[in-house]
Amino acid sequence: MTMTEDQVQQIVIDIINEIAPDEDTTGLKPEVNLRDQMDLDSMDFLDIVMELRKQHGIEVPEEDYPELASLKSCSDYLTPKFNAE
């Protein structure tokens, strides 16, 4: 089954809810950097990468971490990876 960009964004939101339960993820703007909308730091992004690997078997090499900056960039970068499985 092919994943849509919306589904991939939802996966990222679910992960953020899990690793940062005190952050409000409702109404996030897809084009705006996640860091500008929530209190996330580099340690939190490491956890997003960790959960993508654990829950979905998706590998994000360190040099690609900047691709996770916004929900839109996440789905641009991750959707092909999900669909390549």
């Binding site: 690793i19 940062a20 339960p21 005190d22 209190d39 730091d41 340690m43 939190d44 490491l46 956890d47 960790m50 654990k54 090499p61 360190e62």
Partner: protein, 477 residues
């Protein structure tokens, strides 16, 4: 007889089940790593541990957890660490302090978890210094503690740029040093900033049941994630080859291998475990500061005596001297008094008995050279001396209550105890004076975390474990 661990291989071996080791273990277990924590003792917690005596539970280490912020505060060390460990805030059961004091001859400064109160106290006692104090506070607030740039690295020098009265300078350094400086007389300005923030901008809190709440929380979390922990499992040697750690030889003769090792045993202590190092390696980086602490159990709450403070940092000498004790077993001229009862535990929640703890600097070598009889006699002598100093500083007991009449039990730990529980050379509570901030060692797959990596306090120790596990094992994995 080699144990069942013999010939096992792990992705990461963590040496030490203190705050840093447990926190690092949780991070690695969260990532699904095959990780084991090896601990020499039969209890977790390291320096921050607890014991029972005559059915009574005693804490070691924790007077107050620094870095306290109320639930929901963003971006502070405590919030970051809870998120990284996926532990809910409420699980720590933190209750904030009442009020603490810095008590010097003819001068006292109160502080609590609101910085404005401390500021007002400085303005009251040192009206000419308040502008400098505020400038210092602002600098400390915004400083990058791990990259000082053009700032002086000596905290004394840095503080003297803002504060010209040596009394105020000493009064600021007293709590900051007592709660985490491994260096004598002075400290690194970055470390000073970390401590200043954790004490004065953030604050003190404590779980009602003490440090065991935190240790148990970490242990349970680690175990629930499938992490393995082996107690009573000391390490004899780390075998090396070509700049790498290859195998770890345990006290019982078993040998295990690991891709990476995170050691919380201390910088010098870890180096000396390695087969490619001399037994006296890095002797210039051994900590010189050790402490003694008396614990008194009372049949009344401290407030019934009129003692309402949470922590009192005291100095009775002309200048505050934070350095190894040279010619006696204990230096009673400065120290820390703590009443674990005096936290805001809420309605109907309070420790059943009253507790008074007094900490002072002590000479490790002299304590360790005593034979058993002398050791006990000296403990008794110095217990009395420290109570004398303490009672001289505290307000006179209400209703003429006699302290001795209400004492149910007493105990005392010395540098000998510290050495036993932490394994730190010299019983140095805060470890080596020169911290290894990137956690790297002479071996490419052996890293340091905990006290000697340079984060301070309980929260700092946990953050150290987290950041070293992230940096050296998880990042770019």
């Amino acid at each position: 007889m080699p144990s069942s661990l013999d010939q096992q291989h792990y992705e990461t071996v963590i040496i030490g089940a203190g705050m840093a080791g447990l926190a690092a273990g949780i991070r690695l277990a969260l990532a699904g790593k095959n990780v084991i924590i090896l601990e020499r003792h039969n209890a977790s917690g390291g320096l921050n541990s607890f014991y029972s005596q005559a059915g009574r539970k005693f804490d070691v280490g924790l007077h107050a957890m620094t870095n306290y912020v109320p639930k929901g505060t963003k971006g502070t060390p405590l919030t970051k660490l809870l998120r990284q460990l996926r532990i809910p805030y409420d699980a720590l059961d933190l209750s904030p302090q009442n009020c603490s004091r810095i008590h010097f001859p003819d001068c006292q400064l109160g502080f609590n978890n609101e910085f404005a109160f401390f500021e007002a106290e400085v303005a009251r006692a040192f009206p000419k210094q308040i502008d400098g104090f505020l400038a210092l506070a602002e600098e400390v607030r915004t400083l990058d503690a791990f990259n000082l740039g053009s700032m002086p690295s000596s905290a004394r020098t840095a503080v003297q740029r803002h504060i010209s009265d040596p009394l105020l300078e000493d009064m600021i350094f007293c709590p900051v040093m007592y709660y985490g400086s491994a260096q004598e007389h002075d400290m690194d300005y970055g470390q000073f900033a970390i401590m200043f923030r954790s004490l004065f901008f953030e604050g003190f809190a404590r779980p009602l049941d003490g440090v065991r709440v935190i240790v148990k929380l970490l242990q349970d979390k680690y175990r629930s994630l499938g992490g393995i922990r082996k107690m009573k499992c000391g390490i004899q040697k780390i075998h090396t080859s070509g700049g790498r750690a290859t195998t770890i030889e345990l006290d019982n003769g078993a040998s295990i291998s690991a891709d990476k090792i995170i050691s919380t045993a201390g910088a010098v202590e870890t180096a000396r475990l390695c087969t490619d190092q001399l037994v006296d390696a890095e002797s210039d980086n051994i900590g010189q500061l050790s402490f003694t602490e008396t614990i008194t159990v009372l049949d009344k709450q401290p407030t019934e005596f009129g003692w309402d403070d949470t922590i009192i940092f005291f100095n009775t000498a002309e200048r505050f001297r934070y350095a190894r004790v040279e010619d006696d077993l204990v230096d009673p001229s400065s120290g820390v008094i703590c009443f674990p009862n005096n936290y805001q535990y809420g309605e109907d929640r309070q420790l059943n008995e009253g507790f008074l703890r007094v900490t002072a600097m002590a000479n490790h070598d002299k304590w360790c050279a005593l034979n058993e009889d002398d050791y006990l006699a000296q403990k008794s002598h110095w217990y009395d001396e420290l109570q004398k100093v303490t009672l001289g500083l505290l307000p006179r007991a209400k209703k003429n209550l006699n302290f001795e009449d209400h004492r149910l039990a007493k105990d005392m730990f010395t540098p000998r105890t510290v050495r036993k529980y932490t394994g730190h050379l010299n019983g140095a509570i805060y470890g080596a004076p020169n911290k290894i901030k990137d956690g790297r060692t002479h071996l490419e797959n052996l890293y340091l975390a905990g006290t000697d990596q340079g984060f301070l306090g309980i929260v700092g120790a946990m953050l150290s474990g987290i950041s070293m596990a992230n940096l050296h094992v998880l990042q770019g994995d």
